[in-house]
Assembly symmetry: D3
Homo-oligomer: 153 residues x 6
């Protein structure tokens, strides 16, 4: 109340990195843990940008690892706010991997992360509402609303 709503694009966030040997096993496949750490960081920055507050991770939904990522790939985690509650935000994160020699870019993972904004004492505090501007954003908001109700039920 009284807090101005914010558009999705104002907090869309990218965390990106070049995969190097410490990120992978001996066969050159990047660890799932590395990908999830980037997903968590992207969601956290996105939520902090939307709320202007420190934010904590509350839940991460199912993630699939169907496309292997290699050392030498360029990895991008792209996070945007799908939905906001009073103090919680559902952040959608898409991960893309690019083979820099072949030049092809593949979608490797999707993940939904729930973040909560907290005050200096660590208690949940209200966040701005979401200003929906595009048809895609509307669809993502509606899908998140359904998931929310399903989880509450």
């Amino acid at each position: 109340m009284g807090m101005q709503s914010k558009p999705v694009r104002a907090s869309t966030t990218y965390i990106s990195d070049l995969m190097s040997p410490p990120d992978a096993n001996l066969r050159g496949s990047v660890f799932g843990g590395k990908v999830l750490a980037m997903v968590d960081k992207a969601a956290a920055v996105c939520a902090m940008r939307h709320s202007g507050r420190p934010c904590v991770t509350v839940a991460m939904e199912r993630v699939e690892f169907l496309v292997p990522i290699r050392v030498g790939d360029y990895l991008v985690a792209e996070a945007r706010v799908n939905h906001v509650g009073r103090s919680s935000m559902e952040i959608g994160v898409e991960v893309y991997s690019e083979d820099l020699e072949k030049g092809d870019r593949r979608h490797t993972n999707s993940c939904l992360v729930t973040m909560v904004a907290v005050d200096p004492k660590g208690r949940p505090c209200p966040v701005p509402r979401l200003l929906i501007e595009t048809r895609e954003e509307k669809a993502r908001f509606a899908a998140a609303e359904l998931r929310r109700k399903a989880r509450a039920a």
Copy 2:
């Protein structure tokens, strides 16, 4: 076929670590990414012990982060095989955090990880069946069976 089945206890795995400053933000709260990296490692070691093969992470189910973990805590990720398919294994991972000065230990996260055993060319290959020995193991197997069918449907 012909491959001997293995009991759950033969592959139960612990990954444990003392949380230090690089694992946390400035307020001393451990990053979700650090926890998920330990969950992924525990599941991988557990699956490799059961199958005797290199294994890759296929999916990680919803994880909640309801209990904050602090720098200085001792963290344990405990992984056991819940269910096996032809080449896939569902691994259940429980995470516990211990405050070493107060001496109390809390359950902080639960997570289900699907791993697949692969041959030297990276193709899925068969894994031993699971020898169920306790009532708890039976219940976990049945629950995993239901999840599997729900996902297939």
Copy 3:
């Protein structure tokens, strides 16, 4: 020769990260070395995207560190090709830091990096020419041309 030229936008690259405690000294100021590592990675990915080849860093020009970066800031290194020679590329990298609670974004560093594309034996090999599309790109190309001549002289 025969190699198609590529537009600047096709290889523009972002490396971005949330600054955490290991990136800083005890007073919370991020090390110059962390910033330069991100600059080097951004330039390398940009050069590999333009050339489709492994690339090595040949030189990094003067960098100033006039604006302090803090743990908790979101840092972005933005790299684009300014100029190409036969096998070398001058990459311009701009670094921006964002205070996620205040929401302000500041330009913190500028840097010019010279990269060379190499073949599997590590020998320099030709790279596509640069397709100049905007007035800004033209100005950057001309400025790089002058620097190149000054250095040759």
Copy 4:
């Protein structure tokens, strides 16, 4: 005095990890330093569990590295209290390495670590006495007592 004694099993501690490329040299052999860091952490957690206090490492006895450890191995450092003085504790740490494909587990290192419990100002403070329950614990206590006298002499 007045402080209750604690059994050895109450503080037995495991630090365990999957060895990855950053832990090893180019030939895939894990650095001694990685092993010793795990030994030090296991001893510290064990001592903090016994004393309920922050603890500092005072000395580490001779360690031998006779069995090579490889990237991909699962490593466990197992720590237990051998003996306690007024504020010092002798912790015995055994390290085991498991080849996950072959399934064999080998003992790789033994190490004795002396830890001291400290108060908030960093001064040594008293720790609970040790409740000896098994013949093995008794033997380890006696051996530690002899080492202690030998060192004092």
Copy 5:
């Protein structure tokens, strides 16, 4: 004024390390970012030794990467004060790489770093003057003086 001048040799500093897999790409070449992080640390320690104050990096001049550095090499960054202003110091850093099996040592990089000493509030504060003792030090001081004037012009 009133502050005693200090000789160059009193603050000459070495940062040295054995290059390991996390420092390099898959082909075994050490990242420029690793080298620059060592250069920055060497300059910072050198400036703190000369001034007895915390110091911040203000600028790093052009660095060339003409000699590749390999995993397994022993790398040394050698820093000395070339020139001092009121609160700023120009530090010259030379990097040497040694192939430990062949036993040959090569000069790989040169770099000039400007550091500023700061008081507890982060404001620039005066530093001791430089006591020039050798012909080489005199030449380096004069060259730095020229660069300083060129930059001011």
Copy 6:
């Protein structure tokens, strides 16, 4: 036989670093594991310089941690060959810590490390004999000889 002997000074090695937050616990005290990793690296570089071969750590003698090391300190591990056998070398490592603001340097740890030179198949291979040049080197050689005999007995 036929292999030329080498002086101690030819392989004397320094590994040095500025202690940063990831190297320490929350109270700012550097982990013993960080110190031992630097000791191990210094001994390894020293042994490789003497033998011109890859070397593996065979044993590390008792180390005491009596002087605390702080984040912000400059740490140096200084390694020299004390004694050589057919393929083994005893390396003495001394660790010094410098408080950069106060300017005082303290000896913090001493450690003896036994390294063995290996051929490409990992088998022990002969190393050059040691050319003793100073009285100190002679004393260290004699003391190592005594330790060696004591261990053999």
